[in-house]
């Protein structure tokens, strides 16, 4: 028992290793109020521990560059990527993504990349924040643009 006791005593004088993220204690108000206070800037949050270079977080997609070659769909192990034929672009379900970054490697245009963002929680698996790329809104927008372009002609 003795060696452990020494270790325990040493720990007592050390600063805790844990980073109190996002805050050490929740203020004694409801969670919604906390969110509001944070948005107003009344509460300051602790920043998270820096993620290292090359961290694989939420996928970022440069939709303008994409040529619709569908290679990323072919290698995605979790079928997180879907082709949208109307606009010849892809749609990515972040909630299915396993952050392997294999699609980044194969993309000939390098329009996919892994960002450092890791706070991905949402209330719905297929919520708006968790689908990127050629979403319904995007398709509508493109179709609208097309129509206006047609009219001009």
């Amino acid at each position: 028992m003795f060696p452990v006791a020494i270790e325990v005593l040493k720990q007592m004088i050390k600063r805790p290793f844990t980073n109190p993220y996002p805050a050490k204690y929740k203020p004694k108000v409801t969670l919604t109020e906390v969110v509001e206070l944070v948005q107003k800037g009344k509460i300051k949050l602790n920043p998270p521990v820096e993620v290292p270079e090359g961290f694989r977080g939420r996928i970022a997609y440069n939709i303008e560059e994409c040529i619709g070659c569908q290679l990323c769909i072919k290698v995605c192990p979790s079928r997180a990527i879907e082709f949208v034929p109307e606009v010849k672009k892809v749609k990515i379900y972040i909630s299915r993504c396993t952050f392997c970054s294999q699609c980044n490697d194969i993309c000939p245009k390098k329009c996919l990349s892994m960002s450092k963002e890791f706070e991905l929680a949402d209330y719905e698996k297929y919520g708006k924040s968790l689908i990127i790329g050629a979403t319904e809104d995007y398709v509508k927008k493109v179709e609208k643009e097309k129509k206006t372009a047609d009219k001009k002609e």
Partner: protein, 414 residues
């Protein structure tokens, strides 16, 4: 005898378990007289998924997710088997990087296991201390691969990311850290009287049983079988190193008994061995420039694999023992056959001789001693055969039984 025994089912489910299985124990008082295993609660049919839906590149990530802790061991064996099947040779630098990731993983896996073992015998101070020192290697892994687990480093024909100067420096400083804490690790774990009394002569697996039950990894080595794929068969960069399998008597200076204590000793000294291996591998990496994949263009790789005909096996010494993969390609998008053999598959059978004759209070540590990641008892029902009454014993109760035993021993020691 027969009317005095009870049947005690343990398991099958616990939310924290990677492997869910159920044990049906027959007990006579406190002693276990017979054990039956009931497996397959977590069978996910991955082999079916891969052979029906995935191309070989996608399958790497399926293999990676077979196990969270061995998340590099399965891809390691898998890419070997695929490379043999398709006749691909990875470049040398890739082989070194593969071995480096494999060894870093072994360090974190063994330390994690040590913490779990400490928890199972009711020594939670040690659990927190070991998991604290484990953070160091996880940080290194995160820095060089991008994630703490599920590194996504392997690909068919090489690795996906290079380790640069900075990465090597990080690995070296981490090795320095582990060399410094190792003495404390040994002192708090192996030389601790309570741990020793609690685990000596518990869950014995004799050498003969270990061979007959085809045990692998530290479970076999703890029984004195000097079996280690890195030593038996040269593969990857391990062929350059002089590794020998660690068996307990070298460090305990006692006869090898094949009990839980021996398995603890093997695992703890394997951490030190990995540190030594990594030192050599870092030197080797510095002196071996070159590409990290045989083919940069993944589309070419995919097409080559689609056309390939052949079969191959891949073996890697994972933290828990030998991982074995068999793959067959036959001009199809998906592999035709893929068979995965994780180390616990072989070590399941050795639970039976280990558990026979132990006390119920020792069951958690015996289960944990082959390192199925976590002890896998969720709750157990004690059925009194004479009265037909049954009552449910929670895992917590069982652990507390174990903890009480530790306390008793402590009292006796003091």
């Amino acid at each position: 005898m027969a009317e005095k025994t009870f049947t005690v089912p343990i398991g099958p489910i616990h939310p924290a378990l990677k492997e869910i299985e159920s044990f049906i124990l027959t007990v006579d008082g406190e002693r276990v007289v017979n054990v039956e295993l009931d497996l397959g609660y977590s069978h996910r049919g991955l082999e079916y998924i891969v052979t029906h839906r995935c191309n070989p590149i996608q399958a790497i990530y399926i293999a990676e997710r077979i196990c969270g802790i061995c998340s590099t061991s399965h891809p390691y064996a898998y890419v070997q088997s695929m490379e043999h099947a398709a006749g691909i040779t990875p470049p040398e630098r890739a082989e070194i990087i593969r071995a480096i990731i494999g060894e870093l993983e072994r360090i974190h896996s063994h330390i994690l296991w040590a913490g779990v073992a400490a928890h199972e015998i009711g020594f939670d101070t040690l659990l927190h201390w070991t998991w604290k020192i484990r953070e160091n290697v996880l940080d290194v892994l995160e820095a060089i691969t991008g994630n703490r687990i599920n590194y996504a480093m392997f690909t068919i024909g090489g690795v996906r990311r290079d380790i640069d100067e900075k990465g090597i420096r990080q690995i070296r400083s981490s090795l320095q850290f582990y060399r410094e804490v190792f003495d404390t690790f040994v002192a708090t774990f192996i030389e601790d009287t309570t741990v020793k009394m609690r685990t000596r002569d518990v869950g014995i697996l004799t050498r003969e049983e270990a061979e007959k039950q085809v045990a692998v990894g530290p479970t076999a080595r703890g029984s004195g079988v000097p079996k280690d794929v890195r030593y038996d068969k040269p593969y990857s960069a391990y062929a350059d190193l002089d590794i020998y399998p660690i068996v307990p008597d070298e460090f305990t200076h006692e006869e090898t008994k094949g009990d839980v204590y021996d398995r603890i000793v093997v695992r703890i000294f394997e951490v030190l061995q990995s540190v030594h291996i990594l030192e050599d591998l870092c030197d080797l990496l510095e002196s071996t420039p070159g590409p990290i994949t045989y083919q940069q263009n993944l589309v070419v790789v995919l097409n080559q694999l689609k056309r390939a005909v052949g079969e191959g096996i891949g073996r890697h010494e994972a933290p828990r023992g030998e991982v074995f993969h068999y793959s067959m390609l036959n001009k199809r998008e998906q592999p035709v056959v893929w068979k995965v053999r994780a180390p616990t598959y072989n070590n399941y059978a050795s639970w039976i001789p280990m558990m026979k004759g132990t006390q119920i209070a020792d069951i958690p540590i015996v289960i944990a001693s082959i390192d199925p990641c976590l002890s896998c008892a969720d709750r157990m029902t004690v059925v009194d055969e004479r009265t037909g009454k049954s009552r449910v014993m929670t895992l917590q109760e069982m652990r507390e039984m174990g903890w009480r035993k530790t306390k008793e021993i402590k009292r006796r020691v003091a």
